[in-house]
């Protein structure tokens, strides 16, 4: 799948995801400056992590108004795949392509650590091949990753099976102490109702080569491998 990695001013995981797509997964991928992005040239797009526009004002909000997002919305309408990682998730939420909000972590600090997330649904292209209840090792690195939604929105999210990942402990269970940032229902990643847009706080690109993983695995690759098809 020809994939665009959108580079915003302040993106800093753009080269990382590009490396994994091109050199590890051998996907046809291209780094595209946000002003130059045209949806028609690509079958999928990734909004990478980082601090677009310095995350000033609110994480992701300025990037949400970049011309690139008009093209992203067009892709979404056409049913193409869009993945937002970390800051990319924040941008998707600020663009209202995904519901809810991402607020300051409960600890009020930036947190960088490896976590475990459980696949909550296999009714998405992204997770179909991984399987429900699978637990993946991936690191998080964010200050604003606490997922919140109003009670109604949260209910809808569950009813529509849009919760894709939840933070879990080593036994694969959702628990207070395995929720790193205070997200509602330990939500780590969600998809849209049409199931072609995925946003998640953990970084799959940092978990795609065994040499980088404390567990010597490459769980992030399982998720990204959809782009290989």
């Amino acid at each position: 799948m020809k994939t665009a990695v959108i580079q915003f001013p302040g993106s800093n995981c753009d080269l990382d995801i590009l490396h994994v797509l091109k050199n590890v997964l051998h996907v046809e991928a291209e780094l595209v400056w946000h002003r130059d992005f045209k949806d028609s040239e690509f079958e999928a797009a990734i909004l990478p992590g980082g601090f677009s526009y310095g995350d000033y004002l609110r994480a992701g909000i300025i990037a949400a108004h970049s011309p690139a997002m008009k093209h992203i919305k067009e892709m979404v309408r056409e049913g193409k795949l869009v993945i937002g990682i970390c800051n990319g998730f924040q941008i998707l939420v600020e663009s209202e392509l995904l519901p809810g909000a991402l607020l300051m972590n409960k600890s009020t600090c930036f947190i960088c650590k490896w976590v475990k997330v459980r696949v909550e649904t296999d009714e998405t292209l992204f997770t179909r091949h991984i399987g429900r209840k699978s637990v993946l090792n991936m690191p998080i690195a964010h200050a604003e990753g606490r997922y919140v939604n109003d009670p109604e929105g949260l209910k809808e999210l569950h009813e529509n099976d849009q919760v894709v990942f939840r933070y879990v402990n080593s036994r694969g269970e959702v628990s207070e102490d395995s929720n790193p940032n205070g997200s509602m229902d330990s939500i780590a990643g969600i998809c849209n109702i049409e199931r072609n847009v995925l946003g998640l706080m953990p970084h799959p690109e940092r978990a795609s080569e065994p040499v980088l993983s404390p567990f010597s695995d490459s769980d992030g690759l399982k998720l990204l491998s959809i782009l290989k098809s």
Binding site: N12, D16, G54, C109, C112, A143, H203, E209, L212
Partner: protein, 737 residues
């Protein structure tokens, strides 16, 4: 004219002003005097340290760029180079810890960037007062936040560091930040203006009134009214920095850029004079062209502002379109401010009128300051008595592991993005040094920043020699060959003979160990005047050493965690009763004693032995044995591995008649702990024998308990889990968060 001089508040001595007049052949005007003041300040000129630093070994087969440029560069093979540099930001951090530490990170990133290397890692070495004090806590929390907010936003991982708490750093905290960059040997760029006619472009953040005279502030002791110097502290903008990083690297890729330099201390004055002085050229600039943040800035302010996130570029005429196009794409502001000339003079105009005309070498070649050194005798006094032997060693173990100088620093590390860039193979705390792979190659570099200021205080020569050795052992333990250092000297007022003596001893000690290990020093930074006037108290002499190591194959990468029950634990190197300045003595409040000796031949032998054992694939875990001694090093390996161990002190190679607490907590140099399989045990011992390194198997890895015996009789035993708790809980309890 004299009257106008008095209007500018300068730090220069009467002799220096006279010398400046003599060289200029006339009275300098106010602006020129301000420029001379900044460039001849201790911070920019190294006028007290230059002569002393000359003795350091600076060359070697891997050295590509040595001291004198923004960062040192070493060859790591295959056309790859590593640029690295460390700098202090002590004075600004003591006044404004958040912005002070953040701009410390910003400044060091630019030093790497202007060599055309991509910054790939940050390390920091921090020192604060007693963690119980509210002031130290305030400094600590804000310094960490400043580093985190800045480093994280620029997308450069903060991969390692050290934190030490000692009362001497109560007012003057030490904030040393190092940056490591990766580049290609044939793509390096030097900050020198060689070609008259080249166009000079100022790129990046707007110039404002912040940071004016930051360097002269940093060349003074901290006083009661230092708070008033807050405007001398620059304010950082990591978002602009990120854009400047990408725009700089992309602009250089056009092949049109002839030189780049960052604007740090001394601002435009420093950059223009150093670049032109190195190339034997001059500059002609129009100050009104500079893009500014505020209206009505005077020539004086424009030339001396230390506003952050700025770089100077030179390009040949006719290449504007390509290079400026890159800045426009990244939306980085720029202004064309003038051109390189062949006059050897800095000529600055304001609205077309010449306001400065001064030889660039006058600025960059200041008179050397004559300083006297006087040996401090009191600290070398030995103590004959010894403290009583503790009754309960388990309790001592829990206490020492919860010392803020030994305890788990994860509350700090986890605030830093240490994964971005996909290079961090070993995570902070997993090994003695950070290990970063070179993407696309089967190799990695190991980096460590380290110093033991307590040892350096008791014996500056030995303490600093040992600091070099320890850093070398640290990278060795990860599977690397140590290849070069850069250093950051932090001392009190050099005009005081005792402080100057400490500084000279430090450099002598570092030189001794570098020569003994065959390592070059490729750069450094000197920070003096780290003392406060009120108490007259200086910081403990502390030269942090940044050691770079090269790991030839990824399969050699070794962590400190115990791996498997039943494996042998081998101690290499001899233990001596050297507890002066040890963490154990600090804990029980016992002063004096002998600091660990630093003997280059011993260090070399044990380093070579461990390196060879790792290369042959015998070693499953390795850890340098230093702070806290054997007992703490073993505990760290057990905690990291989630496994226990059983050792017998009777097997520890040591001098005759040592007490149990001495064997456990002595911080003798030249020692390593490694683990290995039963079958490889004799092989490692024989490697050690061949190099004359005392070594023996002292025990084995066990399931869950930390057990210490003597001649088969158990001295004490505790669960590794309980040790982990003491080690992990200490920092959150002391500092909060």
């Amino acid at each position: 004219m004299l009257e106008s001089i008095l209007k500018v508040n300068v730090n220069l001595t009467a002799e220096e002003i006279a010398e400046a007049k003599r060289r200029l052949g006339r009275e300098p005007n106010e602006i020129e005097l301000g420029m001379i003041d900044v460039m001849w300040s201790e911070h920019c000129s190294y006028k007290s340290s230059k002569k002393v630093l000359e003795i350091l070994p600076k060359s070697g087969r891997r050295v590509v760029v040595g001291p004198g440029y923004d960062s040192g560069v070493v060859d790591i093979g295959d056309g790859d180079v590593i640029a690295f540099k460390v700098e202090s930001h002590n004075h600004p951090s003591a006044i404004d810890p958040y912005n002070g530490s953040a701009t410390g990170v910003g400044g060091i990133i630019r030093d790497i960037l202007c060599m055309n290397c991509r910054p790939i890692a940050l390390l920091d070495s921090l020192r604060f007062g007693n963690p119980q004090s509210a002031h130290a806590k305030w400094l600590f929390n804000n310094v960490v936040k400043g580093i985190a907010d800045y480093g994280n936003r620029t997308g450069i991982p903060t991969v390692a560091g050290e934190v030490e708490f000692d009362e001497s750093f109560e007012i003057n905290c030490l904030v040393n930040v190092a940056c490591v960059g990766l580049g290609r040997i044939n793509e390096l760029i030097l900050a020198r203006m060689d070609n008259p006619g080249d166009i000079i472009i100022l790129v990046g953040g707007d110039t404002g009134r912040d940071g004016i005279h930051g360097v002269t502030f940093a060349s003074k002791t901290i006083r009661e009214d230092s708070e008033l110097e807050r405007p001398a502290v620059q304010v950082g903008n990591p978002f602009i920095k990120k854009l400047v990083i990408e725009a700089t690297l992309e602009a250089i890729r056009t092949g049109k850029v002839t030189a780049v330099k960052d604007l740090g201390g001394g601002g435009l004055t420093c950059a223009l004079s150093e670049m032109s002085s190195k190339g034997g050229t001059g500059v002609d600039v129009e100050l009104t062209n500079i893009h500014v943040r505020e209206e009505g800035m005077t020539p004086y302010e424009l030339l001396l502002s230390e506003s952050q996130e700025r770089m100077i570029f030179t390009i040949p005429p006719g290449s504007q379109d390509e290079v400026l196009g890159v800045f426009r794409k990244w939306e980085v502001p720029y202004s064309i401010i003038g051109k390189v000339t062949d006059t050897g003079r800095i000529v600055a105009k304001y609205r077309g009128k010449i306001v400065v005309d001064i030889p660039s070498k006058l600025l960059t070649e200041p008179p050397i300051a004559k300083r006297r050194a006087r040996k401090i005798s009191i600290i070398t006094k030995k103590r004959a008595s010894k403290p009583p032997i503790p009754m309960d060693f388990s309790k001592v173990m829990h206490h020492i592991l919860s010392s803020p100088n030994i305890a788990d620093m994860h509350p700090v590390y986890r605030q830093y993005d240490h994964e971005v860039g996909l290079r961090t193979i070993l995570k902070p705390g997993d090994a003695d040094a950070a290990v970063l792979r070179i993407i696309g190659k089967n190799k990695a570099v190991a980096v460590k920043i380290d110093c033991n200021s307590l040892h350096c205080h008791l014996d500056p020569y030995t303490g600093h020699a040992a600091a070099v050795a320890e850093a070398a052992r640290n990278v060795t333990a990860t599977g690397a060959e140590p290849i070069a250092i850069t250093d950051c000297c932090n001392f009190g007022n050099p005009e005081k003979p005792e402080v100057y003596w400490q500084f000279k001893e430090a450099i002598r000690g570092i030189t001794y160990m570098l020569k003994g290990l065959g390592l070059p020093c490729v750069g450094g930074n000197v920070s003096f005047y780290n003392e406060d006037e009120e108490s007259g108290r200086a910081v403990k002499p502390t030269t942090t050493i940044v050691m770079l190591g090269l790991i030839e194959r990824l399969s050699l990468v070794t962590s400190m965690a115990l791996k498997e029950v039943g494996e042998s634990i081998i101690l290499l190197g001899k233990t001596y009763p050297e507890l002066g300045g040890s963490e154990y003595y600090r804990l029980i409040g016992f002063g004096g004693g002998k600091v660990p000796k630093a003997v280059a031949s011993r260090e070399r032998a044990s380093i070579k032995t461990v390196a060879e054992a790792i290369r042959r694939g015998y070693v499953t875990a390795a850890h340098d044995c230093s702070k806290g001694g054997l007992a703490v090093s073993l505990a760290e390996m057990a905690i990291k591995g989630g496994l226990g161990l059983k050792v017998d002190l009777a097997y520890v190679p040591h001098t005759f008649s040592m007490r149990i607490d001495e064997i456990l907590f002595s911080e003798s140099s030249a020692r390593f702990i490694v683990t290995t399989s039963e079958v490889n045990t004799p092989k490692i011992l024989s490697l050690a024998r061949r190099r004359g390194v005392p070594a023996s198997k002292i025990g084995e890895v066990s399931p869950s308990n930390y057990t210490v015996a003597m001649n088969g009789k158990i001295l004490f035993e505790c669960s590794v889990e309980s040790l982990r708790e003491s080690w992990q809980d200490a920092i959150p309890r002391l500092i909060g968060g």
